[in-house]
Assembly symmetry: C2
Homo-oligomer: 384 residues x 2
């Protein structure tokens, strides 16, 4: 198996891009990644996207985007794992290179969410849940997460206000990320008083939607020649699932797919918790930050909120998270998010993340979640 390096990164701001179509957004991120790598083409393209069929009446993105970027003929396809589509596409691209099948792969995550009516977007997002047993019963995606958060508060005795540090940290870091959707610092008071969405989830627990695209260029490590930039290697990659419906899980408060994929990735990378310098986790809702930290071993079961309250999650903390704003601050264009996380981790490992640079960062972890915990994909990257 060949080792794989990320030699180019690119992204668009996460925003309401009313003037740009899906393919234009994807192209913008791809061209930036190619430019960053000093290349002008690649052999294959893997696209992370969840909702183009429903919201843009457009599937077959492989032919669409490869033609748009001026590389018709290249291998290209879409990989879908709901909000985990970006990392799923990245992992597919990774295997394409590591297998020796292709020598250069572009991965782009792209989503266009804001041109539809909010009710259409909400319905499209609900396809990440169980259509028969969750969505058809009227459970929107935020409602599912609200039930989980409610159960967590009830089971472990935390107060809603104890979750504020996750949102405050994400907003603080996003302030310095020019590509973030939100540039607005928030306080504990803002959090406490935010408008309720689905009790106990309020507006500041939830990540914003958005349009956006992020892209990376992958090549075998041994094909990296003079490049001038810090080479970043993928040293761990794993994907795991759990039941799609929350009620079918052994423990609705435990992300077993996060535990499983993180453990596999640690083993593959040969690293332990103490080696991870930062963690780009999937904070679609603040409760998910807590569950991810616990399942991956950074906090004890039922003690996740403490990591926030004790300041461990900040840039200077023991395990900095959402260092470029996370889903909460950078925004959550669902199928693109997993690739944004990779791009941001590369920025950290290259030392390009000032003023939210994690000092001396050598190893970073990313984790992308599809559905309320059904598909969880973990990657570990290392500055080589």
């Amino acid at each position: 198996m060949r080792e794989v390096a990320i030699i180019g990164i690119g992204q668009t701001p996460v925003d309401e891009h009313w003037d740009k179509s899906l393919k234009e957004l994807a192209g913008e991120a791809i061209f930036a990644a190619l430019h960053d790598a000093g290349r002008n083409s690649a052999e294959a393209l893997f696209i992370g996207n969840m909702m183009s069929g429903i919201l843009s009446k457009q599937e077959n993105l492989g032919g669409l985007i490869s033609d748009w970027i001026g590389l018709p003929g290249m291998e290209a396809e879409k990989v879908e794992a709901a909000c985990g589509s970006g990392a799923a596409a990245f992992r597919a691209g990774l295997m394409a290179v590591s297998s020796g099948e292709v020598d250069s792969v572009l991965v782009v995550g792209v989503e266009k969410m804001t041109e539809s009516l909010p009710v259409e977007t909400t319905e499209a997002l609900a396809t990440a849940a169980d259509a028969d047993y969750e969505s058809a019963q009227g459970l929107s995606f935020v409602a599912i997460n609200a039930l989980v958060m409610q159960l967590y508060l009830h089971t472990y005795g935390w107060k809603h206000t104890d979750f504020a540090p996750f949102s405050i940290n994400a907003h603080a870091n996003a302030l310095h990320n020019p590509n973030a959707r939100l540039h607005e610092a928030i306080t504990q008071k803002d959090y406490n008083n935010a408008r309720m969405i689905a009790e106990p989830i309020n507006l500041l627990d939830a990540s914003p939607t958005g349009d956006g695209a992020a892209a990376v260029l992958l090549v075998p490590v041994d094909a990296v020649s003079v490049h001038g930039k810090q080479v970043v290697k993928v040293i761990g990659s794993a994907s795991a699932t759990d039941a799609i419906a929350i009620h079918s899980r052994k423990d609705p408060l435990w992300l077993s797919a996060a535990e499983r994929s993180a453990k596999k990735a640690y083993d593959q990378a040969g690293v332990g918790l103490e080696d991870i310098d930062f963690f780009e986790l999937h904070d679609a809702f603040s409760i998910m930050s807590v569950l991810s930290l616990e399942a991956c071993g950074f906090a004890e079961r039922g003690h996740g909120p403490k990591a926030g309250l004790d300041g461990h999650i900040t840039i200077q903390g023991k395990i900095p998270i959402t260092t470029r704003g996370g889903l909460k601050g950078r925004g959550h264009p669902v199928g693109a998010t997993g690739v944004y996380q990779i791009v941001e981790a590369v920025q950290q490992l290259r030392g390009e993340a000032s003023p939210t640079q994690v000092e001396g960062a050598r190893i970073g972890m990313t984790q992308n979640i599809g559905g309320s915990g059904a598909t969880i994909i973990t990657h570990i990257l290392k500055a080589d």
Copy 2:
């Protein structure tokens, strides 16, 4: 790169399965493939599917199906390339095994098309075309193919009735495939008099929709122990694209992505045209059979219909095609079709295809097309 073998195959009949959901169909094919291989699990699952989000309000099929088959925790994701989704998922699964990332992979293609209103299915199928420049102008998918066929007749001077052998052959072979959607022999007269759909495409030029699932189990060749069945190796695999919109192609009558992916697959397999014993091509419409034969080298440009008229495409012919009925006879549950083709090729290579067995078949080719030629994926399989 590890060599990969197919050690298990399974399929449901292609039909109107009103009593079975998407996951039930997928499960049925998967269990059959596992049973066929004498195994009870696999490490990863790649799902080929095009329209579940639109027609079943269900994405995130990885978590859904892995849980349903009793293997929650396994890696699982969906790969989409319109009607080429099945082969795209197969190729992704192939790379997962050949890369060494996983040691056993299930690939399932599944589609549920007949529970929706016909207009909904037509709209969903149109997402395979360019949403802005084709679908939005009122071009349905059959209309796009009708324009291509019209141009072909005009350019090369063939009559519509010259295309009959493709449909007659497909129906004749499907008669002996218990999983085929159509079990009805047709004649030249039937073809000539069939109801017009979109001139010049009539009902007997077009493949029927359907619900169905097909599955295979992949392992490294060196992991195949005593199995009792003919081992089938994947010796060629390639994917290529062309512009999604027909008007953007250099030549609307030339499937450049078929030519490109077939050539790559021939090179990889180290075989020539004369070595291919049969060809499961993508006869969504009879014009596509002709264009595929030409682009892959089995007929000269503009001479494709001759292969039918001369009887080369029958089981006893020089290049038997659609030996189990093809899309026309077996049916075209779009995201599943590519995996049906692989399953049927394995049946041929195992000698399990009587009475449409191609005598002495050792090497077979499959080709799956997404859109009107945008994504084309070619595989070459060999009885080891």
